[in-house]
Amino acid sequence: MGRHSAAPPLELGTYEVVEASFGPSTSWKAGNLVVDLESLRGSAAKEPAVEAVEVHLVRPGDPVRVANVLDAVVPHVKADDPEATFPGVLGRLAPAGRGRSNRLGGVTVLSVCDLRAAGLVEEDEVWETFVDMAGPGADRSGFGSTANVVLTFTPRSDAPAADVDLAVRKATLRVARELAATTIGATPDRQETFRPIGARQGGEDLPAIAAILQVGSEGPFLDTFLYGLRMEGLVPTALDPREVLDGALTNGAFEWAGSRNPTALYQRNALIRELYEADGKRLRFAGLVVALGYLNTAFEKQRSAMLSARLAQLLGADGVVCTTFETGNSHTDTMLTVRACEQLGIRTTAILTETNGGLTDHVPEADCIVSVGNEDELVAGWSPDHVIGASAARAGEPVPTWAYLGATCQMGDLRWTAVPA
């Protein structure tokens, strides 16, 4: 496939945070992150479509429920070119997935906005999104175990939805960059090198495995962004998996808390890491395809499934892992993709969430499915001392799993699954 082995590696440094606290200026040193809340607030409030921002710092174990969470972002900076961090949306356009990038471990930035109260979306329970820092729901979201810098946005009342959407995303990414930028020049706790896939010698006898990553892009507050533009209309596209680790893909979809893909899970990406880890040992990592789910017509769904399968074939895949985005008819896109791959002789495993009614869709070819859990399972009620981001947030009532951010993310980042009771 050419001289890709000459492409520079991605050097990802992780700087752990064991202690996060407030202070007069934002800094990271030897595991201690100090956050200047006022400075971050000013940074986030810069956007014209934003009326006001509040900043909170919450830690695992705090009796706090964060509600109306939009996105979660791992603090991240391109250490050798900070202006190109999150290229296309926050940063200057530049290829992601190469050079030195730094990120904080143990800290996440959460954006919060009550879109319904602001009149930006329809009154609909499926926007509900919680992250619990303690209580029975703390281990559901995957963000109850990190210290979270929470940005609560009040949009300007006359700003159009698209402006608010962009403003909130940029401000959140800006804060994420600022937090990570404190580590530039310091020695990381962990240093990983991601070479271009295929650069590793040997392993020709190993099965070639690709991933087909499903995303959704249906409009304001329902979009996924690739280098800053929404992905609606995009045909299945091959990406360097390192681009996804390095901020090329950002989330702008805020419905269906449990099964959407927060930006942080694109960044942390258990699937890409798993494939990299096994590359040359158990498999050859053949590549990554991103494809849309939620296509509206039968024709578009079949066509996209066919194009995804053909692209996987062009990448030389013997097998693919198919991920799913959210719930409902996107599961049909997954099933059609499974079928299209199997018809080309490419074996598949799909990652799906279950409901109380079982699987949402199925084809006979889908004989190998990973379940990330039952999204309808109720988590015991909890009465937090504080709620950020909403006035009423089901305090004391049982909460369905689907209301916890990323709880049943179908890229497989968490360890949740379902078994017969």
Partner: protein, 346 residues
């Protein structure tokens, strides 16, 4: 105070079995009755004395589900029963649905529940695995043989005795799945399973459950057949006069088609909350193809179009509710000698 057996038993029945009346009492509000009523006496005779009976009209439950459940659950909470018995409902979809829904909610509050109904009763889905459901036929004459089975199972649950898996004990599989933390991430498991599959060992963590109906025989002579239109696209007369919900529907509706040859944009609309209804509202025939059916009817390609169409909204609607609607609509179509149906979905 319990019935002397040392356990507290509550029994739920519909209006008919509780002796409140027949169809004319289907709109009866929830009531609480001391002691056993109707089949409850059979439970007592089989060794499960009933302390309190709760009853509700099947139609009342269907139309006011949230309120009816609230009242029933209130009484249930006051009693703090060791077990709740619902039905038997046999083949009655409405009764079964109420039994299953109450079972589900009681289960959430930690009350063990036993019920009995046909395996395809929508109540089975409604229960969402909360109840131990003894399978029955649709004939109510089975009551005498079913009650001792129900009583025995309920007694064991009330005494906290362990109950084995469905294959051994004879109740319907509950299909319950609970969330647990695996040793490794879903991504790791996906890679493992895929490599195993490529090596010839195919395994899955979840599979579909299916209830299958064999395909009915084809219509012999369409030119003499009555064909009906049914839809889940939320198609209603302009203004939605009967307030069909946009999501999570608890109802289906029927509207007359006499003299109507096309669903005009000024007269009909879609209230479905699960898709963009712009194209449909410009021409509702895009959801329910009335104009084309009328044309073909005029040409004699079908005998006639049934004089009403059936409509509901199929988004966020629980499977159990949808199954109930299907059974109820099918019963009307059957009654009206409809021979074929065109069902449109979005």
């Amino acid at each position: 105070m319990d019935g002397g057996s040392g356990m507290k038993v509550v029994h739920y029945l519909n209006q008919f079995f509780a002796g409140l009346g027949g169809e004319e009492a289907a709109g009866h509000e929830p009531v609480r009755i001391e002691g056993a009523v109707g089949p409850g006496r059979g439970l007592a005779a089989a060794g499960l004395p009933v302390d309190v009976t709760l009853a509700c009209g099947d139609d009342h439950f269907g139309e006011h589900e949230a309120e009816a459940l609230a009242r029933l659950l209130n009484w249930l909470e006051e009693e703090e029963p060791d077990v709740l018995v619902c039905g038997p409902a046999f083949g009655s979809g409405r009764h079964g649905y109420a039994c299953g829904s109450l079972a589900r909610e009681a289960g959430r509050r930690g009350v063990p529940v036993v019920s009995a109904m046909t395996p395809d009763n929508p109540g089975v889905l409604a229960a969402e695995g909360a109840a131990y459901i003894v399978p029955t036929g649709s004939n109510v004459t089975e009551m005498r043989t079913i009650l001792p089975v129900v009583a025995a199972l309920a007694g064991r649950l009330a005494r906290g005795e362990p109950v084995g898996p469905s294959e051994e004990e004879g109740y319907l599989p509950r299909g319950l799945r609970k969330n647990v933390l695996a040793d490794v991430t879903g991504a790791a498991r996906a890679v493992d399973l895929l490599l195993a599959k490529l090596a010839g060992d195919t395994r899955t963590e979840v599979a579909p459950s299916g209830d299958r109906v064999p395909p009915p025989s084809a219509v012999v002579d369409l030119s003499r057949a009555t064909v009906a239109l049914v839809s889940e696209a939320g198609c209603v007369p302009q203004g939605n006069p009967d307030r069909l919900p946009s999501r999570h529907s608890n109802m289906w509706l029927r509207y007359p088609l006499g003299g109507v040859s096309s669903l005009g944009a000024d007269a009909y609309e879609s209230v479905h909350g699960g898709f963009d209804t712009a194209a449909a509202n410009d021409d509702p025939n895009r959801l329910v193809p009335l104009d084309a059916v009328r044309e073909l009817e005029a040409e004699g390609r079908i005998g006639k179009l049934h004089d009403v169409f059936y409509t509901t909204t199929g988004v966020d609607t629980p499977v159990a509710a949808a199954a109930k609607f299907g059974q109820e609509i099918a019963a009307e179509l059957h009654e009206a000698n409809v021979q074929a149906v065109i069902l449109t979905g979005t």
